[in-house]
Homo-oligomer: 156 residues x 2
Amino acid sequence: MREISIGEAARRSGIKVTTIRFYEERGLLPAPPRSDSGRRIYDTATVERLGFIRHARDLGFRLEDIADLLALQGQPGASCAPADSLARRHLSAVRERIAALRALETELERMVSGCDHTDTAHCRVIETLADHARCIADHPTGLTGELDTAGAGKAD
Amino acid sequence: MREISIGEAARRSGIKVTTIRFYEERGLLPAPPRSDSGRRIYDTATVERLGFIRHARDLGFRLEDIADLLALQGQPGASCAPADSLARRHLSAVRERIAALRALETELERMVSGCDHTDTAHCRVIETLADHARCIADHPTGLTGELDTAGAGKAD
DNA sequence: CCTACTTTCTACAGCGACTGTAGAAGCAAG
DNA sequence: CTTGCTTCTACAGTCGCTGTAGAAAGTAGG
């Protein structure tokens, strides 16, 4: 089985068939050779490349950054500084995200624990939402989804 | 200044003009009366509604859920159980997200701390990405961006 | 060989929550 | 009157896919 179909590549890499074609379109994978009837033919190297991509996606890297990392991987001997700084930047983005989510967690906890469950007129959840002043110092307003993925991998 | 323009409403609420129009289209705001020349005319109640929306968005609620919360707010006397359970569900989603991001943080830390910064052939970052087996037990594969917002509020 | 089923192909629309663009019109001040 | 700001509508783009439609090709059983 030296010639690998797209479906087989999907099974081996854990990336869906449609997603593989999407990655090709986005330049993460080279256009593969085709069979006489026009079907994509992959090899083990491509499957490994897909594994790389999947892992990087699981870690929340953006496709654009993954393309850069793949290019670096293909240049043995080149400095790994770009890969390193990319990973570091990503790490600090993840940390910021965690901090923001923790602040959210705190305020949501206060909201749901403070509600006496009678009716909407006295609902702490709704009151709190209506009156930002009650917690304006507690949760962040200023960082928008710059890191929205993490732990991807629905995979087939 | 009883009649509030969309720009003024944006300034007061911290929500961009374009986003206000977008919220109207999505049914979070009623279609406001218009001036002779067709411009939207708001009142303080709408500005407060915008504040509610903004706060809920800052907390990461989805627009669909915010619409539900707004409907509940408008029905004093109704049970707040739906609002409560919505907030609780959201809270547990936030917690899951934090846990996933912490796992990511751990692996990213290992990646960047283990790199000796020589060249790509020995780069720990790239090696780790290429070989998922090194950490397959450490980070989650299975939960995809079901909670991707948090701490929004770029706001004008 | 025929039929049924699966896989693959292309091309395009949709998700969520906006943001940005284009082009036109209204409005206020100098 | 001109300049410059605001507002209007309508639509495309962001990100990382997912889902759809319709067609062609491959595979298995009778």
